[in-house]
Every structure is written in C-alpha cells, then in structure tokens.
C-alpha cells in the first residue's frame, strides 16, 4: 500500500516570493509521482510528474519538483509566485507496475498568495 503525507495544510506566501510545498510518501514498490492543482471551483489539473530519469522535473506555470529517493520526498517549488497561483495543491503516487491503477493522494496544501 502507498501513503502520501503533505505536512502543511495551508501555506501563505507574499507575491513574488519563493514557495516550497512539501510531500513525503511511503511505498513498498516503486512509484510514479505527481503534483495536481485544483483552482477554485475547478477540477484537478496535472502540474508535473516524475516517472524516471532526472530527479528534477519541470511542470507548467513555472513549477518544478525534485524527487529524493532516500528521503522519499517530492517537494514542489516555485521561485516567484503570482496571485494566480492561489489554489489547492495535491501530491499523489501510483505504483509503476502495470495493472495497478490507483492514485493515492495526500490531503492537499492550500496555497494563498498575499498581495
């Protein structure tokens, strides 16, 4: 079984400041890792994903995340946030073996940008 921990339920950040949203996971098998964003009254949109290869992955809207296998982490970062980044961010994992379809989500981090 897999589990995902997002320790910060809410993160307030001033506009143009950097931000890091933390994600740690637990799994007995190798996994793919994802960050999804949910803007107010909208569905889940994929920000970025890690499948294999380079541990630093870049996504949409200037976000990036780094996979750290030894620390079982996949923290999301952005060097300078905008008001439009206000949203809920979800980290998720999925076993990489074929046939296992279930995405396991964390509880989410609400990012609030302060003007």
């Amino acid at each position: 079984a897999q589990s995902v921990t997002q320790l910060d339920s809410q993160v307030p950040v001033f506009e143009e400041a950097p931000v890091e949203l933390r994600c740690n996971y637990s799994s007995s098998v190798s996994v793919y890792l994802f960050w999804y964003v949910q803007y107010p009254n909208q569905g889940l949109q994929l920000l970025l994903k890690y499948l294999s290869g380079s541990t630093l992955v870049k996504g949409i809207n200037g976000f990036e995340a780094e996979f750290n296998k030894s620390q079982t982490s996949f923290h999301l970062r952005k060097p300078s946030v905008h008001i439009s980044d206000t949203a809920e961010y979800f980290c998720a994992v999925k076993p990489s073996n074929f046939g296992n379809e279930k995405l396991t989500f964390g509880t989410g981090t609400r990012l609030t940008i302060i003007p």
Binding site: K102, L103, T104
Partner: protein, 114 residues
C-alpha cells in the same frame, strides 16, 4: 484541448434515492476512474474500469455503487440508495493507452445528500 466533462456540476438528492453521475472521458482513452473528495478530506480512489470491466476497486466501493460504460462515450457512477455520508465531490478521470501514465480529471460533481 480535449477534456473530461462531468454532469451535473451539482446534484442534491434525498437520502435513500438513487443518483447517476455522468462523465464523458477523453475520446480514445481506455482507462476510466472515479474518485471522491469529502469536504475537507483527501481525494480517495473509488474504482478503475478497463476493457468493459472493473479492474480495481476500493473498500469504499461497496454494493451500493456501480459503474457502467453504456455506449462509446459515457462513463457513469450509480449510487443505489444514497446516504448522508455519500455527500462529496466526485471526480471522473481517464487515461490513454500505453505510455500515458497521467490521468486527466473532470471538474467534478458535487453531490449533496439531504
């Protein structure tokens, strides 16, 4: 850009009534999913569907729930006799074939059971 669409966006139903939540996945996708998010809680997996049958389901997905792909475009979730605790946001998702590891989500249906 292709997207997953869900209807209705909000459904209110009385306890004990049957509801059907509808989804139109991205065309040519082969894997289909339902997830739910109870207010203030995490997004939870309900069921995955491939090749016209359930491939995996969670313990939440009991006999009150069923899924169907009645034609080539729709994917539905039926709750036979709704309970208050079924109130949640329900998300449909779809995924393409081999190599397409990401699931695309719809905007969700907010189900309120009163």
């Amino acid at each position: 850009e292709p997207e997953v669409t869900q209807t209705p966006s909000h459904q209110v139903t009385q306890m004990g009534q049957e509801v059907i939540l509808r989804c139109v996945p991205i065309s040519n996708h082969l894997y289909f999913y339902w997830y739910r998010q109870i207010l203030g809680q995490k997004v939870e997996f309900l069921v995955s569907f491939y090749n016209n049958e359930i491939s995996e389901k969670s313990e939440i997905f009991d006999d009150q729930f069923s899924v169907e792909r009645p034609d080539g475009s729709n994917f539905t979730l039926k709750i036979r006799s709704t309970k208050l605790e079924d109130s949640a946001m329900y998300f449909c998702a779809s995924r393409g074939k081999q190599g397409g590891t990401e699931a695309f989500f719809g905007q969700g249906t907010r189900l309120t059971v009163v």
